[in-house]
């Protein structure tokens, strides 16, 4: 976020923040306090990120109804902190639940770009994993991982709501293992999890 051109006022607060920041950083590092805070706060913020995963209110096809059923009273996904928001700015999980047609390819990439950084993508249902029953179609991409890096695959057509909630569970495991790293730096180090094989 270094938009240098942006100088808010005569007195540049950015300069102040930088200098104060560096000085305190050195002091903390010298006194090893930075490690203590790093470890303890790391656990706390990791718990925070794990316990509140906001998926985007995006319904493409049949899996959207299973997503709604997961949010309803029988399989209450909100028990695990899953709270559907409808603006990509406020979400951290892009739950892709249907086939991606050529016409919807760039809107969904735009949605993925609009989401703030520690973000994950869950491919729910066969259509999102590999184009599903429409893999031969002239208008459907074979799976959402052709355009967006996917973290968790949930097979099923449509997967049951319990599988969706288990998918969020798998995502939480990934977060506790590798922490909430930004998605671009996550690409190589982490193989995507496929439900059912571990």
């Amino acid at each position: 976020m270094t938009d240098d051109g942006q100088n808010y006022s005569m007195f540049s607060s950015r300069l102040l923040v930088d200098t104060v920041g560096d000085v305190t950083d050195e002091a903390l590092k010298a006194s090893r306090l930075k490690d203590v805070i790093g470890v303890l706060a790391g656990r706390l913020f990791n718990w925070g990120q794990r316990k509140s995963l906001f998926p985007l209110h995006l319904g493409i096809k049949c899996c959207a109804l299973e997503m709604a059923a997961a949010g309803a009273s029988r399989f209450d996904a909100e028990r695990f902190g899953v709270f559907f928001r409808s603006s990509p700015r406020q979400c951290d999980v892009l739950l892709v639940n249907g086939p991606i047609s050529k016409k919807f390819a760039d809107p969904i990439v735009r949605l993925w770009e609009q989401m703030p950084e520690p973000k994950w993508c869950i491919a729910m249902g066969e259509c999102a994993i590999s184009g599903g029953p429409y893999f031969q179609s002239y208008n459907i991409l074979e799976g959402v991982d052709t355009i967006i890096p996917v973290d968790v695959y949930i097979p099923g057509c449509p997967p049951r709501p319990e599988a969706l909630i288990d998918g969020f569970g798998k995502l939480r495991e990934k977060i506790i293992r590798i922490g909430a790293m930004p998605s671009h730096s996550r690409l190589e180090s982490e193989a995507p999890i496929i439900i059912g094989d571990i």
């Binding site: 319904g59 309803a72 009273s73 409808s86 249907g98 047609s101 919807f104």
Partner: protein, 378 residues
């Protein structure tokens, strides 16, 4: 304020599915609208040309995912017309039970999605809770929660399981009392009445000319229903009347469409209860799958030049299949499958209905037409 185009884009809480409604807005009132469909067009008609007749039912389940059974039955009736197949009486009754339970589930999904459109979230969770009951019943028949692949050409995949009639009667009676809960939340809430009455007028003659049918046209005080005007299956055996709503003079508004669908839910529940009583051979006798009582003989090839078509009363309107025989594999696969989606015709009409109303009325009007984009984009 100058008029500006807002695009209620593919991803939008109002659109139940993916489509864009470009709205020209002058301040708060809507001046012009233009729908843009095709975001989940997956070429089902092209794929069906290289699938044989039994494989196509799975694609038809996934057309309109809120009412999978009605669509697979619509295809099966057209295929039976193409292959000239006789369906045993008991299979017709079982199909009627499956279709009507699916209609209740589809209307419940609509009511659940209509609540948040107007601002009330608790009705969505209540309706999905009842829909789970209906899906349990259909899961006993078809095996999975949403896409059942239940009908076969010439009959049904499997007979009513043991105790199905008992559970179905219990659940439907419980459901009939639960409808009072929704009516309390909708009818007795003054806020809902303000938001839905006098909004989104549509006259019946204008609607039928635009090709709109189903609950949307019955809301305008006309009892047009494919099940009565062009009776198929065993609807003529059971005594029921299509749910018709006394609309306003300027035509049906959102409130009437809501009333019609709630009435239809009650009516479908009664239809299923009647069918379970009148089913030939009794609801408790169980026939093995493939038994001639529930599955008639059916050829697997359709010679070139033959064609079959069937109009079907889907929960959203009049759906139809036209199949031309004689495709690949010496006729094993159809040459052309054409699908009439009621919502593909209703959405452009509904978006024209919004002109003149406020921006806040767009979800109310669009939601009351119950769009299901899966079938629209095929």
């Amino acid at each position: 304020m100058a008029e500006m185009w807002i695009s209620m884009g593919p991803q939008h809480p109002m659109t139940h599915g993916l489509w864009t409604l470009k709205v020209k807005v002058d301040g708060e009132t809507v001046v012009d609208t233009e729908p843009d469909l095709g975001y989940i067009h997956r070429g089902v008609e092209k794929i069906c040309e290289s699938r044989d007749f039994t494989q196509i039912t799975t694609y038809c389940d996934r057309l309109c995912y809120a009412s999978a059974n009605t669509w697979s039955h619509a295809y099966i009736y057209a295929a039976e017309d193409l292959l000239e197949v006789e369906v045993p009486e008991r299979a017709e009754y079982i199909r009627l039970v499956a279709v009507e339970i699916q209609r209740i589930a589809s209307h419940l999904m609509w009511l659940g999605a209509y609540g948040p459109d107007i601002g009330n979230l608790s009705v969505m969770v209540w309706c999905l809770r009842e829909r789970e009951m209906m899906m349990d019943l259909l899961q006993e028949l078809g095996g999975s929660r949403m896409h059942y692949n239940f009908p076969r050409i010439g009959g049904v995949k499997r007979d009513l399981p043991h105790g199905f009639a008992l559970r179905a009667r219990h659940k439907l009676k419980l459901f009939l009392d639960r409808i009072q809960e929704y009516e309390a939340l909708f009818d007795e809430s003054t806020v809902f009445l303000i938001r839905s009455q006098g909004v989104g007028y549509a006259k019946p003659e204008e609607m039928i000319n635009h090709g709109v049918s189903g609950p949307n046209i019955r809301a305008a005080g006309v009892n047009h229903d494919i099940r009565t005007s062009h009776p198929y299956s065993v609807y003529s055996e059971l005594d029921w009347t299509p749910a018709v709503e006394r609309s306003s003079i300027k035509g049906a508004d959102c409130y009437d469409r809501y009333r019609v669908r709630v009435e239809e839910m009650r009516q479908s529940a009664n239809l299923v209860l009647q069918a379970l009583d009148k089913i030939p051979g009794g609801a408790e006798t169980y026939h093995e799958p493939g038994d001639p009582k529930i599955l008639g003989k059916a050829p697997i090839r359709a010679p070139e030049g033959t064609s079959g078509s069937h109009h079907f009363e889907d929960s959203r309107g009049e759906s139809m299949f036209y199949i031309a025989g004689g495709g690949e594999g010496r006729g094993k696969m159809p040459y052309r499958v054409s699908i009439r989606s009621p919502m593909f015709i209703t959405i452009p009409y509904a978006s024209k209905c919004m002109i003149g109303y406020k921006v806040a009325d767009i979800p109310a009007i669009m939601g009351s037409f119950d769009p299901c984009i899966g079938e629209t984009d095929r």
